[in-house]
């Protein structure tokens, strides 16, 4: 069961927890489960069309899901999922 790292702006939804364990087979299912466990999470992560918001990144063991299978990215054997706001480069 992967551990999800919660960024500071979303910790108000998790009661201040920076890491939560979520059981899910795919990233899409994980987002739905997060919403079930911590209501309000989905609208923070997804836009009106249900797509990942432009400035939200989800990493599966360090890999950006945009470079994998998006919400279909499998979580078999995955240890850590990170939700990270985009950081602009310099």
């Amino acid at each position: 069961m992967p551990t999800v790292r919660i960024p500071t702006p979303l910790r108000s939804l998790t009661g201040g927890e920076s890491r939560v364990d979520v059981a899910a087979d795919t990233v899409g299912a994980l987002v739905q489960q997060l919403e079930a466990d911590y209501p309000g999470m989905a609208e923070r992560l997804l836009d009106a069309d249900g797509e990942l918001r432009r400035f939200v990144n989800i990493y599966v063991d360090g890999d950006d899901i945009r470079f994998k299978d998006g919400f279909d990215t499998a979580l078999d054997g995955v240890g850590e999922v990170s939700i990270v706001p985009s950081v602009a480069g310099g």
């Binding site: 500071t8 702006p9 923070r44 918001r53 432009r54 400035f55 939200v56 360090g62 950006d64 945009r66 470079f67 990170s82 990270v84 706001p85 985009s86 950081v87 602009a88 480069g89 310099g90």
Partner: protein, 415 residues
Amino acid sequence: MSTINALQCRECGRAYEPRAVHVCEFCFGPLEVQFDYQAIRDRISRESIAAGPQTLWRYADLLPVESGWDPTWPVGLTPLQRAHNLGERLGLNRLYIKNDTVNPSFSFKDRVVAVAVAKARELGFETFACASTGNLAGAVAAAGARHGMDTYVFLPADIELGKVRGAAVYGARIVAVDGTYDELNRLCSEIADLYEWAFCNINVRPYYAEGSKTLAFETVEQLGWQAPDHIVAPIASGSLYTKIGKGLRELVDVGLLDEQHTRIHGAQGDGCAPVAEAFARDSMTYRAVRTPQTIAKSLAIGNPADGFYALKLAKECEGVIDAVSDAEIVDGIRLLAETEGVFAETAGGVTVGVLKHLVENGEIGPDDLTVALITGNGLKTQEAIDSQTADSFAVKPTVTSFEQVLADRGVYVTA
């Protein structure tokens, strides 16, 4: 009196107090400074600017800082040079280059950092930092030294030694991070939260980014208060490009220009050109580049934070965003150096290369007033032209030997 209304999310529009925050707490969108243009309009004039310092702080009314700046730190107001020779080669009669290679740490990053360091002081920060792979590191280290702040520069551990030296010489603490640039950036955003340090490209970024507008302000002032027909600018994150647009709009908003119709064109290296690629597809959604492969390393941001806004601006101002190959970049560097005596870094080669495309494609006409932004010094990226160094003559210390070598090469000089 503050001329800042708020920080506003560019995605969902939520407004925030102007503190050291950079992302919207709701949707993670980037925050941007919103000014009170009416108040600025009442106090600013071409005369008040002309009477100001010979630095970018002559535009302080349009920058998001109330105090804390040093108007004698010689950033900005760089030369706008008429480029007759380059213009002749390209077929342009009214070409200028904005020469930002001559800032204190030799790139336009000194502009954004000057604003960031002033804001950091104003907000009470004592430590100034950035995550960088290049120009930003040197700019932050130099400004930190000048302003007496503790300075930390985070670099990937495998970075070129020259870039480490270029920041270390100013006394900055260099933190070499064993990880990718992306991992390093994530580390820095966590450190910014924990330690209450001012990170240029993280928690003070909304202020920092405004510094790029001064390139547009100066260009217009130096042209005798007229907006050019075209500006060509490099694109990495897209921040500079979009702020050129914001700067030109503001000049109209505060009454310094009656109107402006500048077409702002963007330039990328084709080994990392997510914005140019989306532009070519006529799409507003860029595809992030996972492994950038271009000699224009200062532009090699695969996931450009302002990519969407750059595409939006290009549509609005009828700009073109184009890309050039490594060979064209080197040609651009050499062409600029050989015609104008200005040695630009690879980003300058990208800009000149795209300028050439735009002329060839008829986007820029021969009599159009055109400005190319040359944003960094070539001494920073000498390896890019290593294989292209000019022909050198090896001779013995005698005139006979010298003349023999000339003759061998078919060069005859009349003594």
